[in-house]
Amino acid sequence: MRLRPSRLAALALALAALSAGPLSAHDYKAGPLKIDHPWSRATPGGAKVAAGYLSVTNTGASPDRLTGASITAAGRAELHSMSTENGVMKMAPLPNGLEIAPGATLTLAPSGNHLMFLDLKQPFKKGERVAGTLTFEKAGTVPVEFVVEGLAAKGPDQGHDHDHAH
């Protein structure tokens, strides 16, 4: 891959936001919210978009709401719903965010609601961690890292942490 020096500098800056940590399951606490294993997938060549997934459990007594996200390696992040209707993929923004009722777990996953990262500054590579934030109505903005899984991953930790029965 050949890069112009100006691009190389930008890439170096952007790469500084990444760290190649171990691929273990990771979680975060934000007040009564437990954020479990934010993850993304390696991006194919030239892709300027990626998706982010995670789950959030509300251990508190009052509801909270995931309203947004940001990621250092992307221009912006949006919260989207995804559904399949008659074999057609349908996507829609979720401008009001997603509620997490007391005791409930909100899951963002490849087959449904997810974060969409747009205007990626560099490709996501398997094994990297990408720094970002999640914003909640009550719990505020929480810094997190998204672990980058392989291109074919359908869930977190594929082939890493779990004991798969082969």
């Binding site: 997938r41 892709a47 978009v49 401008p95 969409m116 990262f117 392989g150 291109l151 359908k154």
Partner: protein, 211 residues
Amino acid sequence: MTMPTEPERPRAQRGGGLILAVFALGLAAIVGTTVAFLPRGPKPPPISVVGGSFRLDSSKGGVLDSRTLLGKPFLVFFGFTQCPNVCPTTLADLGNLLDAFAKEGGDLQAYYVTVDPEQDTPEVMRDYMASFSERITGLTGSPEAIERVTRAYRAEVKRVPLAGGGSTIEHSLMVYMMDRDGGFVGPLDLGAGHPLALKQLHRLVAGGRPS
């Protein structure tokens, strides 16, 4: 001269006629059933209206004419390179499936047709497809050529705006299984797991059509 009257047949002979008639009926039933289940020669060409010929730019260079695909079954599906969620998963998953199929002695090629021809130039498609199995070829072309293909395959394509500006494209997710005559056989079910999908591919290559 008097007309000869029907001679009275003896009782025993009339009884024999009845037995013969029953026997003939039974024979007819057996022959009829046998004929109905006889193989009827080669299968007729597909009546399916899904699919059609195309000439598109290949991610592997040059132009791909769908007529060169005839004689072998193939797979077709639609997507675009700036698709965040489903397309890369399908591409990676299908690539793994086709590689596994090759290990079982199968040989199938898949063709990924972009629904975003303005953005997905042959160069963009080449870089993008390099991330996936060589058994999947990316195809792009003029907006008119792409529209013809999506219409022929009855694929749904709809551009939808994003909250923060820009847009994305909603599209059919189906992986079309096409037979050696370019006729639509049915959708490949990737969701049910690779063992079942491999069975579908083996059946496709063997020339079987679902009844």
